[in-house]
């Protein structure tokens, strides 16, 4: 037993990506995808804290109808900063840039991404974007909403002084996202080892691949739009301002042509994570692999054709509204396929209700509500009533926060042993997950009710009849915040005091579970053999290591 442990020690701790080189510079200028992924993870979680603080400010302000904490202007800044930080700095890069960077090349069986320098550059662009956001806070703030709708954002007399730095920040972050997407597309096309055919790729890779396509094709549009806005605001050239002969609704088309696909940039990789969570933690071959894989591509493609559903009351023509409504419904089909396939994967599985799995199941529950409430918003006449109300606020939080971010956090727990080489406290993990789940639903389900009953969004003050809802919602957000704080504590604790993680704690079959925890500097000493990444029958429980090994009698693929 001593020898096995020592041997294990050697494998995992002697030389891995964390201790291969030392010093702050070896991190800040690293070309290693794992280190870049970890730097992204740390930064994104800090940005999540920032966005979360603003979220709590908003919730506590809304405890009373007249606003409990802030002035109207401060409230408007708070929801703008909350939205912009959460969208541009957190959710869009969360899964692809942080987890994707770490996991994607290893899952694929590659030593790194195709363009490691470009990868590092993406991270630096993210930092630059953050700097511009901070500058905008220091130069008068932004109160336009994260959507920067014209002509409000152009009019210097109405909107605040920090608009241009915020626009530049979003522009720079766009390029960070484009480069990550480009890198992943090339990596998946060019760096698949022998045996890793398209349909042997884990579904997380299909999710990130579909995401990367959107990142590369849609993000340039928002870049151009933001530039036009900067030019208009700086030099008074009439593009979107009707006073200068421009068209304010044109801006909405440009904006949503990116920002609707951006929703799929957020949700698709999270769906990829959930496919992994459900399969691995049920020890069960994923059900309907091809349907799930194709549905990711289908969502990515349909996602480009539905932007107009954000504009049903913008004055666009009835015919255009009808067409966009019809196409919007098409997105619901691949989403439904995924949910049903995940449920079928649970059938006859061996389901472990551990922390990552609880997040996976939370995702299905929350995405169920988020997806189904999309039906009300896609339907023309109900959307006319619900548009720009708290119903919409609740709907997109169910999708962007409850689904995309919950998937991200589930992914963090799933790959935490691999990334850090440490196990976190399972009991605290489950407890925090339950808090987050309950808190989330209390916070946002209430918002569906007040929204459809007539509470408009972006209101610093409101009619007294909505106070009960707002109070319940604030209580929910406090429970959720507590869950996140506990999560931060036990994760940090595990880094210093956690048990050493085995190579394969969950019984995962994809390639990252074949290298040590944490992985060595160059991922694989020798090229791993690729098989069916959802065939768990070749693994066997090893009580000593508290992890899974290859069965002695199992035939290695390729042998």
């Amino acid at each position: 037993m001593i020898t096995t442990e020592a041997k294990h020690d050697n494998l995992s701790m002697s030389d891995n990506y964390l201790n291969h080189t030392k010093g702050i510079k070896s991190w800040l200028f690293t070309l290693d995808h794992k280190r870049i992924g970890m730097m992204y993870l740390i930064c994104i979680l800090l940005a999540f804290l920032l966005g979360g603080i603003f979220a709590m400010l908003i919730r506590f302000h809304l405890l009373t109808p007249d606003g409990a904490l802030m002035t109207q202007d401060q409230y408007n800044q708070a929801f703008t900063v909350h939205g912009a930080v959460m969208v541009f700095l957190v959710i869009i890069p969360a899964v692809p840039a942080a987890l994707g960077n770490f996991v994607l090349p290893i899952m694929l069986g590659a030593k790194d991404v195709a363009f490691p320098r470009l990868n590092l550059f993406s991270w630096w662009l993210w930092i630059l974007g953050l700097v511009f956001f901070l500058i905008s806070l220091g130069t008068g703030g932004v109160d336009t909403g994260w959507t920067f709708y014209t002509p409000y954002s152009i009019d210097k007399a109405s909107s605040m002084g920090g608009v241009i730095p915020a626009l530049i920040g979003a522009f720079v972050l766009g390029f960070s996202s484009i480069f990550t997407g480009m890198n992943f597309i090339v990596t998946i096309h060019r760096l698949r080892p022998v045996g890793m055919t398209w349909f042997r790729m884990p579904l997380f890779l299909w999710g990130t691949y579909a995401t990367a396509i959107i990142q590369v094709l849609a993000t340039p549009v928002i870049g151009i739009t933001l530039l036009l806005l900067i030019v208009e605001r700086s030099f008074g050239i009439g593009i979107f301002d009707p006073a200068l002969g421009g068209d304010p609704v044109l801006y909405q088309h440009f904006f949503w042509f990116y920002s609707h696909p951006a929703v799929y940039i957020m949700i698709l990789p999270a769906m990829g994570i959930v496919s992994e969570l459900i399969a691995v933690h049920s020890h069960r071959h994923i059900f309907g692999y091809k349907f799930i894989a194709y549905s990711s591509i289908a969502i990515a493609m349909f996602g480009f054709l539905v932007w107009g559903h954000h504009m049903f009351t913008s004055g666009q023509s009835q015919l255009v509204n009808i067409i966009f409504s019809l196409i919007t419904f098409s997105v619901s089909i691949p989403s439904a396929i995924k949910v049903f396939n995940w449920l079928a994967t649970l059938y006859k599985g061996s389901i472990s209700l551990n922390t990552p799995m609880l997040y996976g199941l939370s995702f299905i529950f929350i995405f169920g509500i988020g997806g189904l409430t999309g039906l009300y918003c896609a339907t023309l006449n109900t959307d006319v009533h619900l548009h720009d109300s708290y119903f919409i606020v609740a709907h997109f939080h169910y999708v962007m926060m409850g689904s995309a971010l919950i998937g991200f956090i589930g992914g963090i727990h799933h790959w935490w042993p691999k990334m850090t080489g440490k196990m976190y406290n399972e009991a605290w993990g489950r407890f925090a997950c339950v808090l987050v789940f309950v808190g989330f639903n209390v916070t946002f389900f209430t918002q569906f009710m007040m929204g459809s009953r007539g509470m408009p969004r972006r209101y610093a003050t409101y009619q007294p009849e909505f106070q009960t809802y707002h109070v319940i919602s604030t209580i929910g957000s406090t429970i959720m915040a507590l869950g996140f704080v506990i999560t931060a504590i036990y994760l940090l604790h595990s880094v210093f005091k956690g048990k050493k993680a085995p190579r394969n704690p969950w019984g995962g079959r994809s390639l990252e579970w074949q290298c040590s925890s944490p992985p060595p500097w160059d991922n694989f000493a020798e090229q791993p053999e690729v098989g069916d990444c959802y065939d768990f029958s070749v693994l066997v429980w090893n009580e000593e290591e508290q992890g899974y090994d290859w069965r002695k009698d199992a035939v290695h693929p390729g042998e």
Binding site: N76, G145, I364, T382, P456, Q463
Partner: protein, 363 residues
Amino acid sequence: MIETILYSLLSNVPPTDNGTFWLPRSASTVAENIDFTFELINWICYFFFAVIVVAMVLFCIKYRRKSPNMTCDGPTHNTALELTWTIAPLLLVVVIFTVGMRGYLDLREAPEGCYEVQVTGQKWSWTFNHPEFGATQVGELTVPVGKPVRLLMTSNDVLHSVWIPDFRVKMDVIPGRYTSLWFEATKVGDYQLNCTEYCGKDHSKMLAKVHVIPVDEFDATMIKLASEYEDMSRAELPAYAINRLYNRCVSCHSLDGSSGTGPSFNGLWDRVKVGQVKFTSGEALSSLLGDATEYGEPENYIRESILNPQKHIVQGYLGSMPSFQGQLKEKQITAMIEMFKHLDELTDANGNITVNKDGTPTE
């Protein structure tokens, strides 16, 4: 509220005039249609969500891991089943789409012979013009019950949006173009109108009340509204102005002395009279007052501030006030000036209005 929620959950019948669990009371002809679509989607969602959660919970209990060893088996795919859950939702969403689209066309196609109201949104108030009567309302809109009403809307500054939840209607209000919406109110009463496109600082205070009144009272009410100030004596004008005109100033100009987007009206006349106002140009009003200068009478400065507010911007403010040119008749401007002169008699120390329109004290 809890019992309201429970009651409506259990019975699915509106418990009071207050609407259902999901929707506010319905008070327009299109509301019924929208509520039907909403309920239809509701039941579809309840069904699918129940299927998802029941399956998830059942499987999690039944197939809970008993030993860490790999024991699992089970189908890896089933094309017939997967096609079923592809095609069945597809058919359902086509039904939902069609119902929604038909309802939408009814919602958008205004019937012939609508009563027309011209709506102007500007930060942060709503102005409603009744061209048929030559009457103007601010912050309140009076319409007849049982008659289709069409709002023709535009904005003087940024995007706004009209939403009347009880009528289930909404349309953005856009500068430089017209948009419209129509409704037919079915019940006499007062209804909330919100701005629901973010428009800056006081977005959440850009509200109005829709008064739905019986048809036989409507004409008389509007005629009275259109002409009420014409026969008034000078002494009656201040009470009229503070009750009828001040509501378009309220979002920026307080009565209690506190600074808003614009200077407070409290003590304004005393400052203007002696020229004790400084502009962003550095000039003082006193140098512009007097016989031979720009404002022979201080009243002219007030008049110009209403009609051309950008000309002199008071120090410490941004100058975001729009012009009220064409929106106020000469006599109404006179009424505003009279209001400034008599503000002490119209308000208390906290800036609360203390007189009714007819000059009687408020309760």
